[in-house]
């Protein structure tokens, strides 16, 4: 018995509201205050719409709307199911926080092209919510490609040679992946006749030979894993850090890369399904690739002196936690993987916000230049420390819950070796993030002697996300019922009734 389906237009409004805002933003070029108020209004509206759907989804309903036919028998269908809500609730709330931060950052930094920046940002958010709420593969790839294109102006924001090169690299990676994904999607439509996501997957051995299914899986994973930065497809991500910090924060730590990770969740949980994948034996390979990424990216992160680059490599590793968790195919693994989407988002956005605040306030970007900075910016560095501890997996901070579940999931599937990977990675994370906090607080320096925090509109978002990281670590259902959403998704994907046993 599936969940009760309600026809409701709210998913569509949730997607469209920021698109409308993007147009308004473009037309308010002359008046920055009016322009920014569109962003904030749309962000608040988006949060309101999505959170108004939340109680229904949590009580086991599914909200659906199919406003348009887009191809022969295929509709543009949006559906707010548990997994989709998880991602939508996350990105909408973080957009609101980031918007406030962006205004502070962009004005504090006297950036040019602000209109285009805010407009592209709004389009990105439409695409992200569209990805979260897509009900079938065609809808998914439409928003996925829109996201690719809408991010491009943000990557090339500074318009210099370096930005241009990063933009090219970004496009090369993502467009190629998008094409492969498209072929796989069309192939699925030909084989099955539809591409509607279904918890537990809709493909099966009846449709094609194992070889063909494996190949489709490979194409789909290539398509999604590029955005998720799974090695060796991660090359674009560190370079894309030339973008302004709020972009790195929301897009390269939350929306874009999470869209990739979320795509992996959809492919594994809603297209192929754990049963078929365990028959095909391909998920295990993916799990090992993810484990490899986790370790190697952490090793690279240690050697980066640029703070944003270090965080970028940390992102690559952390995203692979999601991929690893989901490709374990066990209920707890999937639960952990999905919850890590939430956990990592709050922690990493805090870290990027801090990096941005430091850059705007002191113009430092290299870690070696930040000795003693805790004297000048104690709150910022305090938030940084909390988030760092979370990334390393300290209990009572949100990162612990997801890692705990992933580890249990690994044991559940009998692949205990992954637990060793998780522990090693936690140690590595400690060694690349904690020194930054240590140097900031305990090293003396002549440079930072006086107290001088970041602007208020930057500091407040930092405090919020850092606080949420702790609150979620103690009450994982705080606010949006994220943990419950992840549990419900994992249950529906694996078709198991009780998995609270090992959970939190």
């Amino acid at each position: 018995m599936g969940p009760e389906v309600l026809i409701d237009y709210r998913p569509l409004w949730a997607v469209l509201i920021s698109l409308v805002a993007a147009v308004l933003i473009l037309f308010s070029d002359r008046n920055p205050n009016l322009r920014e108020s569109w962003t904030i209004l749309a962000a608040i509206g988006k949060v309101a719409i999505i959170y108004s759907m939340l109680p229904l989804v949590l009580s086991g309903h599914v909200l659906e709307v199919a406003p348009l036919h887009i191809a022969d028998g295929i509709t543009l269908q949006l559906r707010a199911d548990t997994a989709g809500m998880l991602f939508a609730a996350l990105s909408s709330v973080l957009w609101l926080v980031t918007s406030i931060y962006s205004i502070g950052y962009m004005r504090g930094h006297n950036e040019t092209h602000q209109t285009g920046y805010f407009a592209a940002f709004a389009v990105c958010l439409s695409a992200t919510i569209g990805i979260a709420l897509s009900a079938n593969l065609l809808t998914f790839i439409i928003f996925y490609e829109i996201l690719t294109i809408a991010t491009y102006p943000l990557v090339i924001h500074s318009r210099n040679e370096e930005a241009k090169r990063s933009g090219r690299k970004y496009l090369a990676y993502t467009l190629i992946a998008g094409q492969l994904f498209l072929v796989a999607i069309i192939w699925t439509y030909i084989l099955v006749g539809h591409g509607d996501f279904q918890a537990g997957g809709f493909l099966s051995m009846d449709y094609a030979s194992p070889g063909v299914l494996r190949f489709i899986f490979l194409l789909m994973i290539l398509g999604t894993a590029v955005k998720a930065g799974v090695m060796p497809l991660h090359g674009w991500l560190p370079d894309a850090m030339v973008a302004p910090t709020p972009v790195s924060a929301l897009l390269h730590a939350v929306a874009v890369v999470k869209a990739g990770a979320f795509g992996v969740v959809r492919v594994i949980g809603y297209v192929f399904g754990p049963d078929l994948l365990s028959q095909l034996g391909v998920a295990e390979i993916l799990a090992w690739v993810a484990a490899f990424t986790i370790i190697v990216s952490s090793l690279i992160a240690i050697r980066q002196d640029n703070l944003k680059r270090r965080l970028a490599f940390s992102t690559i590793g952390q995203l692979s936690y999601v991929v690893l968790g989901v490709s374990l195919l066990t209920p707890l693994g999937i639960l952990g993987g999905m919850f890590h989407i939430i956990a990592h988002a709050f922690m990493k956005i805090t870290l990027f916000f801090c990096a941005g605040a430091i850059t705007v306030t002191t113009h430092e970007t290299e870690i070696s230049q930040m000795q003693g900075i805790g004297k000048r910016m104690p709150f910022t560095l305090g938030a940084f420390t909390i988030a760092s501890l979370g990334i390393a997996g300290t209990p009572f901070i949100v990162g612990f819950i997801s890692k705990w579940n992933i580890a249990l999931g690994a044991l559940e599937s009998g692949q205990g070796l992954f637990v060793a990977v998780l522990i090693a990675s936690a140690l590595l994370a400690t060694s690349y993030l904690i020194p930054v906090a240590y140097m900031g607080f305990f090293k003396k320096s002549d440079k930072f002697t006086k107290y001088g925090e970041a602007r208020k509109d930057m500091l407040i978002p930092i405090m919020i996300t850092a606080a949420v990281s702790i609150v979620l670590g103690i009450f994982p259902n705080f606010g949006a019922g994220f943990y419950k959403l992840a549990v419900m998704s994992a249950e529906s994907i694996t078709n198991s009734i009780h998995l609270i046993g090992g959970g939190w």
Binding site: I70, I156, Q179, L180, V183, W187
Partner: protein, 494 residues
């Protein structure tokens, strides 16, 4: 009046073409409005005819002068021909409006001549898609070609050379087509398409038929600039008069492609050995053309030349759709005729707009134009995304149907080619986008200025309308496919 719609589609622009020079002697402005009005009537007639046909559920056979075929000339409006007529008249109407920006600097003789040729070109193209008679098709092909040569020559000295080259090659192409019809007439004794479709099946194995098919491939191949018969095309598209280039590049190449679909899928049986082999050969050539055309496009410095080579590749998409040959493949081919007509016309409208203001064609000189011409450049960006095939623009959906068809037919090589071509498209279009949006502003002399808008209204409106059309075609492609195109393929109920 309503019974005469098929005739109006062709006759009104033809009459206006004949009148144009006289009217222009009286008033240049009036000549322009006569042309626009004539195209509007043709467009409305085409829409009317298409709607009636779709409502009736059967093709409309219109007998000119009430002469019964096979003696008289018959016009046939079916969903395919009707949709093409709507497309051609729509694009032509907006290009005619756009021409105003250039034509107001002409003297009366040049204005009259320009609109005469422009209307003749449209008449020829419209005639080709509504006629049901193969010889009549030849006549219209020649009308459109001659008008086309003249409009290309209108573009100045280099245009004249390009036009002369095209004249030589194009005449050979048309002659091949004429020879092909001759063979058909010799073995069947008829020139009527419906007749031919009935008489030909027992003759499909004859060597004469083989010769006909070869003649048609070469004839249409030259006319639609299919690789490797495209040699005339880059010069012709680049040096054609910028006012007419959108019509020439956007639509003129598509109509022979339509004619090829008409012949191979409606008059001949695509399942017969000769035709299916012919389609396979064309498919391979097209696949090569897609790759080579795209690579050549990357190598170009001149914006219009880049677009011209991109057309060589895009025509390949249409031919690949034909070679795939199943329902999806054909829908993809026809949809791409429509989509690409919109995209390429818009791109040449943009090229013309930039040339109007700065006189430049070089991609390097497009640097930082986004500040000066924001709407034009936005239209360009939409086109570029559509050419790459990013949803929800139109280009994505032609690709969608072509890949659907190719997977269904197990023709994997075409999928590889289409995917590769999308990426090559991305390379050369994003290079232009980088120039427009990211380069430092360079001093470009403006030869004309426009206040308060970036371009005169009659140039800007077509650019915006066609640019938006690409988004509309993409978002509502499903209704186009299910309401029109699915009847436009053989076995679609017509």
């Amino acid at each position: 009046m309503r019974e005469q719609l098929p005739a109006l589609i062709v006759v009104v622009p033809l009459l206006a073409a004949l009148l144009s020079l006289f009217v222009s002697y009286i008033s240049k402005i009036l000549a322009r409005w006569v042309a626009i009005a004539a195209l509007l009537v043709a467009h409305l007639s085409a829409i009317g005819a298409l709607v009636l046909v779709l409502r009736e559920g059967a093709p409309w056979h219109y007998h000119f002068g009430a002469w019964e075929p096979p003696w008289g000339i018959e016009y046939v409006i079916d969903p395919l021909g009707g949709a093409m007529a709507v497309l051609i008249s729509f694009v032509s109407l907006f290009v005619a409006i756009y021409s105003g920006g250039f034509s107001r600097e002409f003297n009366w003789l040049k204005t009259g001549g320009y609109y005469t040729l422009f209307l003749l070109l449209t008449t020829g193209l419209l005639g080709m898609v509504v006629t049901g008679d193969v010889f009549n098709l030849y006549v219209f092909l020649e009308i459109s070609s001659l008008a086309g040569y003249a409009l290309i020559a209108f573009g100045g000295n280099r245009g004249t050379v390009a036009a002369f080259r095209y004249l030589l090659v194009g005449t050979i192409g048309a002659s091949f087509y004429l020879l092909g019809i001759g063979y058909l007439y010799a073995i069947t004794g008829s020139l009527n398409m419906v007749d031919l479709a009935e008489l030909l099946p027992p003759l499909m194995t004859s060597p004469v038929f083989l010769m006909t098919v070869v003649m048609f491939i070469v004839g249409f191949g030259i006319k639609m600039a299919m690789f490797p018969l495209h040699g005339w095309q880059p010069d012709a598209y680049s040096y054609a008069h910028p006012a007419a280039a959108p019509l020439i590049a956007g639509v003129m190449g598509k109509v022979p492609a339509y004619a090829a679909i008409r012949y191979f899928f409606f008059i001949f049986a695509p399942t017969s050995l000769v035709v299916s082999k012919a389609l396979t050969v064309m498919g391979w050539l097209a696949a090569l053309g897609i790759i080579i055309g795209s690579i050549m496009a990357i190598a170009q410095k001149d914006f219009r030349r880049m677009l011209a080579y991109s057309s060589v590749a895009q025509i390949g998409y249409i031919v690949v759709g034909m070679a795939i040959g199943n329902m999806y493949g054909l829908i993809g081919a026809i949809l791409h005729i429509v989509n690409h007509a919109f995209m390429k016309s818009t791109l040449f409208l943009v090229a013309g707009g930039v040339k109007w203001r700065t006189g430049e064609n070089n991609i390097e000189k497009y640097a930082a134009l986004c500040g000066k011409m924001p709407l034009t450049m936005a239209a360009f960006a939409v086109c570029a995304l559509s050419m790459v095939g990013i949803p929800p623009t139109a280009g994505f959906f032609s690709k969608w149907y072509l890949i659907l068809g190719a997977i269904e037919a197990d023709l994997w090589i075409y999928i590889v080619v289409i995917v590769l071509s999308s990426l090559l498209n991305a390379i050369y279009f994003f290079r232009v986008i980088e120039n427009i949006y990211m380069k430092e502003r360079i001093e470009v002399r403006e030869i004309r200025t426009s206040k308060p808008l970036e371009l005169p209204l009659n140039m800007l409106v077509p650019i915006v309308v066609l640019g938006l059309g690409i988004l509309v075609l993409g978002i509502f492609n499903e209704s186009i496919v299910t309401q029109i195109l699915q009847y436009a393929i053989p076995g679609g109920g017509f």
